[in-house]
């Protein structure tokens, strides 16, 4: 290894040719994209190597998901498929509470012909065929799945008994109450996943923007980049791209784990949640920009972003539903961007709403992003004076 400054001029030694003439300047578009890619890669590496940022973006919110998903985690068995032949008044006359339980246990399809229904049972396409023989409920089943067969028989018998008591008019002496734990689990994971995902994205987007802005200002990297032939737009675009990619990775992990481990069921238009999440990412980047513009240190910037995001997560239903919350809190809640993100995601991902439900959240989030970015730009300083 040569001592600095004493290296002999040679073909491989940089700087030996006339300054300013030796570097071949590539064409501007190519240079811009290579600068963009290099910046994006540098930011990704900075993120992945910072254990704290990975922890807060991915591991920490996942711990909540596992916690909430795990508390209520009970294996959910698929519904029993019944083929109904002809009219079964017993099913039609179920009282409300019983109907709910019935529908969660059985999936009923109709078949006009008994033989066809039996064929379905035989081939395993249905678990049992039911028909009324005057006042007797007859169930045809196979013993292929003994557990299911037993459950089918027992459950149907219970419904018949219940109906008998109801008909007799005398109040039942013994009552039976059941807490359907698996139903709550279903609701919990359904509810908790979009909300926690919203919080996770809000955290990583705002922390990332805040830490980058303040950290780069503090280290004078912003100044250094100002003196490189790259436009501020290229720098901002690289940071935005990385943050959006991180948000999409978060989404993939959350939904993947939710579906595989906790039985999360996404409804039809869930993928409209992707653009919604991207816009939400921009909104929380602007929250982070604000924090980064105001704070004096990198830690201060991240803390300030957290100070804004964490209470917002509570008030926006990321951790618990707000249905039972007092009305003043509801009002406050709808003034927060995260509430709109969470509700939009819930509507699309688990409530089975159409893409129209994303319009209002998208508009609100974009509005927040615009206003906050303008404010942050006003407060922007190139360096800590």
């Amino acid at each position: 290894m040569s001592t600095p400054g004493t290296s002999t001029p040679g073909t491989s030694t940089p700087g030996t040719s006339t300054p300013g003439t030796s570097t071949k300047r590539s064409d501007p578009t190519e240079q811009r994209s290579s600068a963009f890619a290099a910046l994006a890669v540098a930011i990704v590496k900075g993120f992945v190597r910072d254990k704290a940022s990975v922890f807060f973006a991915i591991v920490f919110p996942l711990m909540f998901l596992v916690l909430f998903g795990g508390i209520f985690d009970v294996d959910e068995s698929p519904r029993i498929e019944l083929v109904q032949v002809g009219e079964v008044p017993l099913f039609a006359q179920l009282p409300d509470g019983a109907r709910e339980a019935f529908e969660e246990t059985f999936e009923v399809t109709r078949e006009a012909d008994l033989d066809e229904a039996l064929a379905l049972v035989r081939t395993g396409d249905a678990d049992a065929a039911v028909r009324m023989d005057s006042d007797t409920l007859v169930a045809h089943y196979t013993q292929a799945d003994q557990v299911k067969a037993a459950v089918t028989q027992g459950t149907l018998r219970a419904f018949v008994d219940g109906a008998n008591i109801a008909v007799s008019g005398s109040p039942p002496r013994f009552a039976f109450a059941s807490e359907r734990v698996e139903d709550e689990s279903l609701q919990a994971i359904q509810f908790v996943t979009p909300g926690l995902l919203g919080w996770a994205v809000a955290m990583s987007a705002s922390f990332g923007a805040a830490a980058t802005l303040q950290g780069w200002r503090n280290s004078k990297l912003l100044r250094r980049l100002q003196l490189a032939p790259v436009s501020p737009r290229t720098v901002v675009a690289a940071r935005v791209l990385v943050t959006v990619l991180i948000a999409l990775v978060q989404m993939a992990i959350f939904l993947g784990l939710g579906i595989v481990a906790f039985g999360l069921r996404l409804t039809g238009w869930w993928w409209v949640g992707v653009p919604l999440l991207v816009v939400g990412t921009l909104t929380f980047m602007s929250v982070g920009l604000l924090a980064g513009a105001v704070a004096k240190t990198q830690e201060g910037a991240v803390n300030l972003a957290n100070f804004m995001v964490l209470p917002m997560a509570f008030l926006s239903g990321s951790f618990f539903p707000l249905e039972g919350a007092p009305s003043w809190l509801q009002v406050v809640s709808w003034g927060l961007p995260l509430r709109h993100l969470n509700e939009g995601m819930l509507d699309l991902m688990v409530r089975g709403q159409g893409p129209g439900s994303a319009v209002l959240p998208l508009a609100v989030l974009a509005g927040f992003a615009l206003v906050l970015t303008v404010v942050a730009a006003r407060l922007f300083r190139w360096d800590d004076a």
């Binding site: 001592t3 600095p4 700087g15 100044r223």
Partner: protein, 300 residues
């Protein structure tokens, strides 16, 4: 020879503080130019206005014939900048840092690696920049500033926070860069550094350029006496006073200190007295120039 930098009447005010006050100077192409002064003298602010990072409140800076404000993207590939404190990306290795900077200028990774070698960091290529020593970090910053082969290089306190040996290495590196024909402008608050490195030095204090010349001319212009330190047992105060050309004599306990403007004559006499053992001669330095200009001792 053309001028690389022309600065005319630069001024920058922050509130009540006049950070830079009517600074004018020119830097010739190929020159190693130093801006010297204590902290808060306005060196960095001056440099940042010349680089085009700050808008001057008055005056103008031209770099390679073009104004630097507003931001002139065509000019940027021709200048290299090392800023005070380490302007690096978070958690990247030395190699990744310089390759990223290279990519910003459309320079290949191979040339970036060559520069890493040139500044003696090849064996630290895979070390994260936050784990480099002060001297290594400065060398990396200089390599990052030079990766696109700029004509004019700005170095803001390139040896700040560096141990003496690493400082000498950096001086060698800077001399080598200058020898290749690059114009180097550096700020420093080390008088010896300016004296050792720079072709010309602007001495700044309180936002003003007090004096601008070659270090030798600055010292000469001072007309300060040479100080000769003789060992006390070699010569007595009385003997020394009797020598022609000697202006003052005092015994500071460690040595008999003579001052003179005719050092060769005095030294010849001291040689006749066989009083050369342990003798030291100290010519005036920029330190004395600063003392003379400001009336206060130099403190970085």
């Amino acid at each position: 020879m053309t001028d690389a930098i022309e600065v005319l009447g630069l001024r920058k005010v922050y509130g009540d503080l006049v950070a830079v006050d009517d600074v004018s100077l020119t830097v010739r192409a190929g020159e190693m130019f130093g801006i010297l002064g204590p902290n808060g003298a306005g060196k960095t602010t001056t440099l940042e206005m010349v680089e085009g990072l700050r808008q001057p409140d008055a005056g103008e800076a031209r770099l390679l014939g073009e104004p630097t404000w507003p931001r002139n993207e065509a000019l940027l590939p021709r200048i290299g900048v090392q800023l005070q404190s380490s302007a690096f990306f978070d958690l990247l290795t030395a190699r990744e840092q310089i390759r990223t900077f290279a990519a910003l200028y459309g320079v290949s990774s191979r040339r970036a690696d060559d520069w890493l070698e040139r500044v003696g960091l090849a064996d630290k290529a895979d070390t994260r920049s936050d784990r480099l020593s002060g001297g290594q970090l400065q060398r990396l910053a200089i390599a990052c500033a030079l990766v696109h082969e700029p004509e004019v290089v700005f170095l803001d306190e390139p040896t700040a926070g560096v141990d003496p040996q690493a400082r000498r290495n950096l001086w060698d590196l800077l001399r080598g860069l200058n020898a290749e024909g690059r114009t180097l402008v550096l700020t420093t608050h080390y008088l010896d550094e300016a004296e050792a490195l720079c072709d010309r030095v602007a001495i700044m204090d309180h936002g003003r350029v007090l004096k601008l010349d070659t270090p030798a001319a600055l010292v000469r212009g001072l007309d300060a006496p040479v100080r000769i330190y003789a060992a006390p047992h070699e010569v007595t105060v009385e003997q020394a006073r009797a020598l022609p050309g000697v202006e003052t004599v005092e015994d500071d306990g460690a040595a008999v200190v003579l001052t003179t403007h005719r050092p060769s004559e005095v030294l010849a006499r001291l040689a006749e007295l066989e009083a050369l053992e342990g003798l030291q001669v100290r010519a005036a330095t920029l330190e004395d120039v600063f003392l003379d200009l400001t009336g206060r001792a130099y403190r970085a």
